[in-house]
Assembly symmetry: C2
Homo-oligomer: 322 residues x 2
């Protein structure tokens, strides 16, 4: 796993989590293990378990008992990613072939289900029902967000507010819950747990918006998937919605999108229309507003080194280009 200096406070716990993830994806059925290992090899930032652990470190406590929940959080995230790739018919993620392309949709769907079940099995063995309930409710919200997204493909009439609600459901909510559960594991009072929840929500929004920006500005090498991939699938993100409002060629853009056929030449025209506007600057401005909210949500009750690490996560999300 890539080492992120900003997670240095929980370096040893993150290393343990990698081991536990490897053991969690191990199945009697060799093929299931192979697919699980492939997903692990694709890596990832482990952002959600890292935030959970950092929040859990808000008070001086032993982290060992909370590690299974951190592992479960990442397994749930992996499950949603493998299903997302089926849904989006994605062929690469983080530069590696996706499970759906390598093993086919059936095995990718089943592996996602397997990872969900493994995650809950871990939580059932190591945490209270309130933790489980928070995680399952968050998954319901993620699904609702994804369902709304699937329903609104190529719908050029959707608003920025709808986009923000959808991003909240599909990404920010789960990160918010990860932080809240960490805070509760640290024994922080309800009010501070709610603050860390807000921190996580804002970080999640900034993270999703950055993802959506990188879909336009990042190279295949940086983000591990082709440029304009969301738009190709009909997923309209903030830069597109901005251009649909602000571009002098907004009528042409809307027509191209409503045609629901994103052949390469049409996609290229859309991208050029979007890039001729202030869409990216506007979107980054929203990212920085969310990051400011995140920083100002950090509660005094958390230990100084935890607050500065969480603040570092906000800096990282603002700077990342992968």
């Amino acid at each position: 796993m890539t080492q992120y200096p900003l997670f240095s406070l929980i370096q040893s716990e993150l290393a343990l989590i990698e081991q536990e993830l490897a053991s969690a994806v191990h199945s009697q059925v060799e093929l299931a293990t192979d697919i699980g290992n492939h997903l692990l090899r694709a890596g990832g930032k482990r952002l959600r378990p890292a935030l959970y652990l950092l929040c859990a470190k808000s008070a001086e406590r032993e982290l060992a008992p909370v590690l299974p929940v951190a592992v479960a959080i990442e397994l749930i995230h992996m499950a949603t990613l493998v299903h997302d790739d089926v849904i989006d018919e994605a062929s690469t993620r983080r530069g590696l072939t996706t499970a759906n392309v390598r093993w086919g949709n059936p095995l990718a769907v089943l592996t996602g289900d397997y990872l969900f079940a493994k995650a809950f099995s871990l939580v059932a063995g190591h945490a209270g029902n309130n933790v489980l309930r928070a995680l399952t409710d968050a998954i319901c919200v993620i699904c609702e967000g994804e369902i709304v997204q699937a329903k609104n493909l190529f719908d050029s009439s959707q608003t920025e507010a709808e986009y923000l609600t959808r991003s909240g459901k599909k990404t920010a909510e789960f990160i918010a819950v990860s932080c809240e559960l960490g805070a509760k594991a640290a024994g922080l009072p309800e009010e501070d747990a709610a603050s860390l929840r807000n921190f996580g929500y804002s970080i999640g929004m900034a993270f999703q918006l950055t993802d959506d920006i990188l879909d336009f500005t990042g190279s295949q090498a940086q983000v591990g998937k082709p440029v304009g991939n969301d738009l190709r699938q009909g997923v309209l993100t903030l830069p597109v919605l901005y251009a649909l409002e602000a571009s002098p060629r907004r009528g042409e853009l809307a027509d191209l999108i409503q045609g629901r056929d994103m052949a390469e030449d049409k996609l290229a025209r859309c991208l050029s229309i979007i890039k001729d506007t202030e869409a990216i600057e506007y979107s980054y401005q929203r990212v920085h507003e969310y990051l400011d909210s995140a920083r100002s949500a950090l509660p005094e009750a958390a230990r100084g080194e935890v607050r500065s690490a969480l603040s570092g996560v906000a800096d990282f999300v603002g700077l990342r280009n992968f």
Copy 2:
């Protein structure tokens, strides 16, 4: 819902479960509710929650506290069905258009995930971690069974023993766990819970084998899907494996299967080869062996009316043609 006289002992509880299912599939997102309602309208035998409830009635206890687990069991089953239909590219189930055809694979995958999460959320709110653990472990086993099935498509070298193991994983295990959890909810001793687990496992095997037989002998009107559907998908069930051993034309059958292209004329040839053997009689013989095992597993500790209801379930599985 169709009323089955054999479930008369738990008629009122099953009616409550229908209400709770309707409330569980209700989402803020209208489309999610629509898909959930469609799945509910397709009905089903509610075999798993019914067995859970019957076993829970082994001792004289109030059933109200265990209803949420019964609902969760059916939600999990519904989730696996909706994902199965994505995997098998099925277009009808129980005579209705499948969710994947009506709403597309993305929404079907997401709805399945949503139902899984709803199920666990219910269990987290109303039952102990041991119940949750048993259910999540059973889902892992179902996924493993389905993964093995997906891997072995069109593989004419698989054995009857492999088929039985796979059927155990994908169907019997979950029914076994439903019975075991019911027995434990009734407070039966460990040994009797294990007996009811064995009862459920045998019922589950008989149920899956009957399903696989009906794929050959049932009409579209009876089973709600086209004849020979499993074989068309490359899923080799007991009648096929029998014919691959016993038919004088087994070489031709193996060649047709290994060709991995089940056009209608080829499928018809396979079906005729299979029907010229004793495959169906042989398979029914195995069904009845499992049903005998099921009946003899019924523990004395269960109340008489529960034992006779469970025995009635065994009769029903042996007679069903839908």
